[in-house]
Amino acid sequence: MNSCPDPDALARAVQDPETAPAEILEHLAACQRCRDLLDQNEQPTKWDWLGETEHKHEPKTWFLDRLKAAVRYTVTGPPEPDEPGPNVPGYAIEAEIARGGMGVVYRARDIALGRTVAIKVLRSDLVSHPTQLARFLGEAKALAALSHPNVVQLFQAGESDGKPYLVMEHVADGTLRHAMQTGSWDPIAAAQLVCTLADATAAVHRIGVIHRDLKPGNVLMSANHERTFAGPSALRPKIADFGLARFLESADRLTRTGDVFGTPEFMAPEQARGDHVVVGPETDVWSLGVILYEVLTGRPPFVGMTSIETLQLVKLSPPVSPELVRPGIPPDLVAICLKCLEKKPTRRYRTAESLRDDLDRFLANQPVLALPRSPLGRTALALRREPMAVLGWLLIASVMLAAVGLVLWQRHLARIAATVSAAEIAHLHAQHESTIRELYAVRITLAVRAIADGDFMDAEAWLALCRPADGEPDPRGWEWNYLMNRLHSRAQIELRLADTDKHGFEDVKLVPSTEAFSPDQRRRATIDVAGRLLVHDQDGRLLLQLPAVAGQMIGLKFSKDGRWLAVRTADEKLVVFDGLAP
């Protein structure tokens, strides 16, 4: 036998078998030792896996196809409806109790202490960023240190499989939403309830946490304690989910930019505007006011036909005073409620404590801050509450418009009087109709005010909202037609230049021009050498010719929707014309 080749030569041969020296190959065929040497670095590998295997039982093709469809649905469909309970050390998950946009709530047993708890597992995307997680855990730590009989007690917070969770007191007896359905509340019980909630809210505000989504659904009711207020239900209210709304807010803002988060009926105007910077204690005060309003009257103060409409009402329209919806509410309590519902946060109670204290004063029959007793104080209050109205009316130059306003106001008062006297006997249908009429009167008032303010687009929106839905009675009278005509007439409306951005004329300030095209390119507006304004359609037909308006025209711009044509004048005014859209 030849002597064995050295290992390097062997390795080279393996590297490149095509050119391996014949004597090495011959040697390998004969020499077991060298073959072993080649294999010695080889870990056992199941090469037989690469072979053909006959399987006796194969699944049917149609079964695999069905399975593929099911898997596709599972991985792309809606989130898992029956995902396993969270794995939280020390707790045994017993059942799922609720499921919402924020996550899933489970009933669980504290294994060591034997007590029942609720575990809320948040959607994993809510607190995904490390800084968010740190904030979540920090806030949870502060909340866990707080013990208040009317705040759902937080025991623990953590993270399980990438999902943040909260272990908290288990409150089993429904929510305020259910408790409100059991019957009407007398004003004293309502005041006691909201006083209790305000005290709880104040305690949480003191540790720097704002709720942001206070509503009857977030107030849990507990029967495990003695009766604490004289409502129709002998349950103790406990506020849940402090601080959580912010995480939902920021997560949703990442995915659905432009949307507002929350429950429109209970959202404060600054939230409805998406003005997240100014969300503060006053935001929760607003929500407490909404709860008070609803407990007193049986309906939230702002209810539109759609969410968008509700948001509009929250932002723009003053609430119908609760005693008009349900007679017999003491004026002091009405004033407290309306003070919570001021559009401007600074005009509300600045803290939940001051709301609580004022409710305490009301309950103790003392004068409340919300309703000064002196005539001067009351006048100041009225002026402060509706300064825009006062100013708006003063600014109406047209006697005609003033007359319309007066008529409307009287009609409004008359309707309100009718509503009140009929309230006790009216059945559902009549109530519904009167609600529509009430809304209509409010909208007309707002449209008049908007026209006076030059906010013709708002005015148009308000008038559009007056149109009845299918099958609804039509509340519109001659005043609606009048205002529509006025809005759509070619009468010019002057605007302050500073206000132009919100109407979609942003560039007119910046770009002097003597020509503008409508967004659909079908109309062309020009200023000719004589200083006249001309509008032509695409076929060159003259649609409008106006002599020079006050001052020299130096800029032209159609609004984004093409409805309006704004002309900038040399004396820094903006004159808006109907843009003659077909």
Partner: protein
């Protein structure tokens, strides 16, 4: 399984694809073809009838997909540990949902066996083994494309089919030594590919 899925990207395994991109429909289809078949065959070895085997396969596979979707693989973490956890959770979750009222019962004897810890451990092991098998096949596909056909054949007959060097050499009309060297070369290349396919570097 010798039909190497050439149509599937060979750059990584199905499990890694669905772990990284849970909405990759094509990867999930291949996942069903491979792991669904595997689970079905395994069920049949428990002497479950076709209908029961289909129920179990569907239940377990859907749970597996859910777990993979819900319990995301962290690319920095250990893939093997992730896979084991996911398989474990899928199996226990599947048994839990079966216990719900209204779920089918099947043959109580077999089901009692299936609910035992050894059955669960074997399920997890089977999933891991299938993952290893897939990995090996991927590596083999990549190597096969890079070597001469007779080099591959020498490897296949010697290593996979288990023929002797003499038989192999006769079939392929090559020297015995050349066949042996070819086998060594290919197996070494496949192991290199395996290392590349498991970027975490751990022994998968």
């Amino acid at each position: 399984m010798s039909e190497l899925d050439d149509e599937i990207s060979t750059s990584t395994t199905l499990l890694r694809r669905v772990a990284a991109e849970p909405t990759d429909d094509a990867a999930w289809d291949s996942f069903v073809d491979r792991y669904g078949r595997m689970i079905f065959r395994w069920c049949r070895r428990w002497n479950l009838q076709d209908a029961d085997a289909e129920d179990l396969t569907q239940g377990v596979l859907l749970q597996l997909a859910r777990q993979m979707r819900g319990f995301r693989y962290d690319p920095d973490g250990r893939f093997r540990a992730w896979l084991r956890t996911v398989a474990y959770r899928a199996w226990t979750r599947f048994l839990e949902t079966r216990k719900k009222p209204g779920a089918g019962t099947g043959d109580s004897g077999v089901w009692r066996l299936l609910e035992s810890a050894p059955a669960r451990d074997e399920f997890v092991r089977r999933i891991e083994e299938e993952a290893d098998r897939e990995l090996l096949e991927r590596a083999a596909v990549r190597v096969r494309a890079r070597v001469m056909p007779h080099t591959w054949e020498a490897f296949r007959l010697l290593a996979v089919e288990g023929l002797s060097g003499k038989e192999t050499a006769e079939r392929l009309g090559m020297a015995v030594g050349a066949a042996i060297v070819a086998r060594s070369k290919v197996s070494r290349m496949i192991r290199e590919e395996l290392d590349k396919l498991t970027p975490a570097g751990g022994t998968e």
